[in-house]
Subunit: 355 residues, 4 copies
C-alpha cells in the first residue's frame, strides 16, 4: 500500500516503476494537491488501483483546519516577530465558514474565521475584508468591522491573507502600510501577496532572521514579510500532536480498510472513507494507566481494532478514539431516542452527504 | 399570493376555500412545520400552485438560528429569573454545528453551539452532553467539558436542552438536581424535558411569575421550570429587529419573485429561492440621511428593486442589503480574481448546493 | 440600631427625633451619599453614636460594582430596546479600573471596564473615550480602540457614559449621531448627558415605552434616550440575588458587630468593618441538603455565627460564606506556607489598607 | 548615574569602588530584588546617594505584569511543548488581582488572573486554587471552578503555579498527575514546585530539549517539567518590544530627573517617581512619518522632552508617549470638567497613593 501526501510517491511509481502497481493494494492520499493529481490520473484512465481520499473526511476538514489555524496563527506570529497581540490592529482578508461545499474554500473559510477568533481572543483589534455578502454579514454579527483594504491599510499593524484568491495584497496597499507592518499569508498558496511587485530595484530586502524579511522602502519604511508569502502555519509554526494523531489515525484506518477489504470491494477508483454502521466500538484506554514506555508521552492508546473495522463509521470512530484524551464522556442514546431521531444507537449520526 | 408561517392559512384555504387557489400566484412559507405540510400536500398531489420554501434559505438558517439564539438564551434566562451568569454552572445538552445537512438538526445544532458560546462569554461554567463523537470532539476543542448528565446533575445551576431529541431530561435527573436549579428548553419542541414525570401527585407546582413554575419536591426542593418546557427563545425573549428584517426581506423577495416570474417558470411544486446571477446590485442607503418618518427608527431603507430582481442571487442580495446597517463595506473582486476563483464578480459566491 | 441606605433615616432621626439616638447602638450605612452625610455630621460634631461605613468594604466595591454592571448593562439595554448586540458599534465613555483609590472613581472605573468587557463578549464592536493616559493605554492593550467622541459619534449605534464626570455627551455630539442611536448612562448620576440641551423647542420628545424616550430632530432623526439619562443599571435592570446576598450579609455582620461589641469599643465616629483575625470559620452548608422551606429557593444557608464573630475578618468571612453556592473549595495554607507569606492560616490575607 | 536591574552593579560599586559614589548623581533600580537590597543599604545607613525605585511605578506594575504574562504563558508553553490549548485542562494556582497593596503579591496577583484569562481565551478548561476567599470568589464570578489540587491533580494536562508561595506543588500531587502532564511556574521564584522531592533515586530525569525535562516514574509515567521550575515567562518566552519600551522609557525619565533635578532636591534616600503636575505635554509623532533609519522598525519616536520634565507626571507621561503606537486619541477635559473632578486638565488623574 502507498501512504502519500502530495502525490509525489504515487507519481514516482507511475513514472518509474509502473509494474509496482500490480503488487499494491491501494493508495491513501491526504493532501488536496495529491487528490487533484489522482483525479487527473483517473480521468486519463491511468489509475490502476483503488485510492482513498483522506483529505475530504470530516475529521481532517473540521479539526485540522479550524483548530490548528487558531493556534498556529498566534504561534507563527509570536515565534517570528515576538509581537505583542494586545491592542494590535490586524486586518484579516477572508472570512469564510464551516459548510462551504467546495473542499478548497471550506478549508480556507475555516482559516479566516479561526484567525479572527483567535486574534480577538488575545486582545487584537481585528478588521475583515470580504467579497461575499453572506460571509461579510457573519463577520459583522460576530463583532468584526468589515472594511476594504484601502480604508485601513495605513493604520494596521498586521495583515493576514486567507482568501484562497490571488493578488489580494498588492503594491498599492503595501505602499500605504506603515513602518513596521507585518504581512503574512495563511491561505492556500503563495499567490495571495503580490510578491513580484516587491522584487523591484527601489526596494531593498534584508533577511533579519529565519522566515523574516524586511522589505525596505526608499524612505526607510520597513515592511516585515513572513515566510516570503508562503503559508505561515506550515513555515513558522508546528502542528500539535493531538491534531497529527487525528489525521494519522484516519490514514491508518484507511490503510487497514484497504488491506482487509474483501477482494473486489474497491475498484480502480477514488473513494471516500466508508460510513457504514459497524459493531465495533472504540476501546477506551483507562486514563490513569501508564505502562512503561520509550520516549514520548503515550497520552492515549487503544487495543488493536479487529479486522471487521472496515465496516465501521470511520470518521466518528476516529473522533471517538480521541475523546478519552479530553476526559470526555459520550452520552448513549436510548432505543427510544435513536428511533425518534431515525439513527442507529451506535451511529453514524451524520447523514452520508455531511462533510 | 399567500405569506404563511406554520401552514395554517394554506390549510384553511385548502379546506374551506379551495377555489381561491385558482386566483393565487403562489405561497411563501417560512417555517419548518409549514414546509412539512406543503410536502405532504405535494406528495398527495394536492398542491395546485407553486410554493417557496423560505425556511431553508441561507439567511434564515445562518442568521436567524445562530445569532438569535446566542442572545435570546441570555435574555430569556435573565428576564425570567434574574439569575447572575458569572460563575453559574450550566449544562447544555447538544452541541451540533453549522453544516449539518438536515434542516432540523442544522437549526438545533447552531442553537447548542450558540448557547454554549454565549454563556461562556458572560462568565458561566458550561458543560456539554453529546451523543455524536464528532460534535463531542468539537465541544472539547472549543473548551467545554463533555459529560453525561448523571455526572453533573447534582451540581449544575441551569440545564438547557438543545438536542431535538425526546426525554433528554427525565425524572431521575430532576430528582438529583439541587434546590433552585433552572431547567429550560431551546430545542425544537416541548419533548426534550419529560414533563409527564413532573405532573405527579407528590410534586407541587407553583406559578411564581409568568413563564416560571416552581416544581416542589416533598422535601422542599424547588426546580425552576421555564415556559413549561416550551421554547425559551420564543416564549421568554424577543427577536431583534435586524433579524426580523433579514427574514422578512427574504419573504418579500420571494413574493416579488412569484409575482414577476414569467408565466410557467414555476410549476405546482415547492421551490427554494433561485440562485441565478443577475445584474441588479443593492442600492445602499446613505447612512446619514434621516428622512422625517413616522414612529419607529428607519435604520435602513433601499430604493425599490426593479422587476428584474427575480434573476438575482436572492440570499446574497438579502445579506448585501443589510450590510449598511453595520457600516460594512464589501470588497469587489477584480476580473482577474473572479476568473481565478471561477465565479462571477457579482456572485453567487457559494455553490448551488450550499446551505 | 439603624440600617440606612442614603442617609435619609439617619437624617430624619437627627431632625425630628434626636432623643432616639440615646437609645441606639449605632448606624450601618451602605451608600456613598449616606457616608458623605455622616462625615458632614461628624465634622459638625453632631454624630453622637458609632457608624459603620459598609460602602467601602471590599465585597461591595469588588463584587457589587464590577460583576453587577457587566450583566446589567446587557440586561438594561435588552429589556428597554431589544437591540441585537452582535455587530453593534458601541462607544463607552470612561475606562477606569480596579485599584483607583477614591471610592467614587473606583466604582465608576469598574463600570467602564465591565461594560466594555461584557459588550465585547456578546459581539459588539466597542470604542472607548478616556482622558487619563494610563487608563487609555490599558484600554488599548485590552483590545479597544481609544477615540475622541467626535471621531465616531456619527457611526455608533449605542453610547454609554461611565465617567463620573459631567457633560460628557453634549448637544454637538447628539447632533452628529445617526438615526436610531441609543444613548444611556451607567455613571454615578444623571450629569453625564447634557439633558438641558435636549429640552429645547425644536426637539420633540416621545415616550415609546417605560424608560425609553425618542428625542426627535426636525429632520425626523430619532435618538433613543434611556431612563432620561439616569442610571441604566438601577432604572432598567435588576440586581441578581447573589449580589444582594453579599451586600446584605455584610450589613448584617456590621449590625451584629455593633450589637455585640464590648461597651466602649466604638466611639462616636465612622468605622470601616474590622479586619482582625478571629477563630470563627464559616459553617459551610452541605450543597445537597434541601430543607423544606417557604417560597423562594434557599440557595445557601449557614448556622448562626457565634457572638465572637466580631473579631472575625469580616470581608473575607462574607466572601467565604458565598463560596459554597459556587461549589468552590478553598485551599488551606500549611503552617509553613503561612509563615513564608507572613499571614495567619485563617486570614486576613489582604493588608489592612487593601480596598 | 547607575541604571541597575537586580542591584548587582550597585553592590559591586559598594564593595569594590565605594569612592565612585562621590562622583555619581544617583541610582535607578527596576527590580524587586534590587529595591530590597537598596532598602537594606539604607537601613544600614550606607546609602550615600539618591535612588529611584522604578519597580513600583504604575506603568511597570500594570503593563509589564498583566499584559506580558497573558501572552508569555501561551508563548512559553507553545515554544517548549507545542501543546494544543483547545480543550486542555489547566490548573492555575493563585488568582490574585490588581490592587493588592504589597508589590510582590500585586505582581503575582496579576499573573494568576492574566494566565487564567489568556488560557480560557484560547480554549483551555481552567481550574483555580486559592487560599484567599475574596480572590476565590472573584475567580468563581469570572467563570472558573475553584478547587483543591487534590481534586483535579489526576485529570489536568497542565499545572501552572502563580502564588508567590512555596511548596504549592509537592510530591504527593506529582504522584497523582497523569502521564504527559506539564508542570511549570509563573510565580516569583523557583520555590513553588518542590523540586527536591523530584531529585530522588527512583525518578529518572531526561532532558528532551532546552528547558524541557521529562521526570520519569518507575512505571514509565512522564511529567514534563519546564525550566526546572524557574519562571516560564523569563526562561521560555520573550518580552514584546512595546513592553520593554514602556519600562525603559520610565528608566530613562528617572535618569533625566536625577540629572536635571536642582541640587539638594533628592537626599540619600529611595524615591518613587514624582507625580507633580507639569506643563509639558508629550509631542506625539505623526504615525505616518517614516524617516530613513537603520535596522529595527522605529515604531514611534518623540522630540526630546525639555529639562523641566522633572516636574511632569511621569507615569502618565510614559503612558501618553505610547498611545500613538496604538493610534489612540486622548480626550481632553474641559475646564469645567476638570474643576468638577477636582483635577488639573493635564493630570495627574490618579491620586498620589495610587499604585
Amino acid at each position: 500500500q502507498v501512504l502519500d501526501d502530495g502525490g509525489d510517491l504515487t507519481h514516482w511509481i507511475h513514472e518509474k516503476h509502473p509494474s509496482l502497481f500490480q503488487t499494491l493494494k491501494g493508495i491513501v492520499e491526504e493532501s488536496l494537491t495529491g487528490i487533484h493529481r489522482l483525479y487527473q490520473l483517473s480521468k486519463a484512465g491511468k489509475l490502476c488501483l483503488p485510492a482513498f481520499n483522506v483529505n475530504d473526511c470530516v475529521t481532517k476538514q473540521k479539526f485540522d483546519s479550524l483548530y490548528c489555524c487558531k493556534e498556529s496563527v498566534l504561534s507563527g506570529l509570536k515565534r517570528t516577530t515576538d509581537v505583542m497581540f494586545g491592542g494590535k490592529q490586524v486586518l484579516v482578508c477572508g472570512y469564510g465558514e464551516v459548510g462551504e461545499a467546495d473542499q478548497l474554500t471550506s478549508c480556507l473559510a475555516q482559516v479566516g474565521k479561526g484567525c479572527c477568533a483567535a486574534l480577538k481572543a488575545v486582545g487584537a483589534v481585528v478588521y475583515v475584508t470580504e467579497a461575499d455578502p453572506i460571509c461579510a454579514l457573519q463577520a459583522c454579527m460576530d463583532g468584526f468591522r468589515v472594511v476594504r483594504m484601502e480604508e485601513v491599510a495605513a493604520q494596521v499593524d498586521v495583515v493576514i491573507t486567507c482568501t484562497g484568491n490571488k493578488n489580494v495584497v498588492v503594491r498599492k496597499h503595501l505602499d500605504r502600510m506603515k513602518n513596521g507592518c507585518i504581512v503574512c499569508n495563511m491561505g492556500h498558496s503563495n499567490t495571495e501577496i503580490d510578491l513580484a511587485s516587491l522584487r523591484t530595484a527601489e526596494l531593498r530586502w534584508e533577511r533579519v532572521r529565519s522566515h523574516v524579511d524586511h522589505v525596505i522602502w526608499p524612505d526607510g519604511k520597513r515592511i516585515l514579510l513572513l515566510a516570503e508569502g508562503r503559508l505561515l502555519n506550515l513555515s513558522c509554526s508546528t502542528v500539535p500532536s493531538i491534531v497529527l494523531s487525528i489525521t494519522t489515525t484516519t490514514q491508518a484506518l484507511a490503510l487497514m480498510e484497504l488491506y482487509s477489504a474483501p477482494e473486489g470491494r474497491y475498484k480502480q477508483d477514488i473513494y471516500l472513507l466508508p460510513k457504514k454502521t459497524g459493531t465495533l466500538t472504540p476501546q477506551y484506554p483507562s486514563t490513569h494507566t501508564h505502562p512503561a514506555q520509550g520516549p514520548g508521552p503515550p497520552l492515549w492508546s487503544h487495543k488493536s481494532p479487529r479486522s471487521d473495522l472496515c465496516v465501521c463509521v470511520l470518521d466518528e470512530f476516529v473522533a471517538a478514539l480521541h475523546l478519552p484524551t479530553f476526559d470526555a464522556h459520550l452520552t448513549e442514546l436510548s432505543e427510544e431516542q435513536a428511533r425518534y431521531l431515525g439513527v442507529s444507537k451506535t451511529g453514524p449520526f451524520k447523514p452520508h452527504h455531511y462533510r
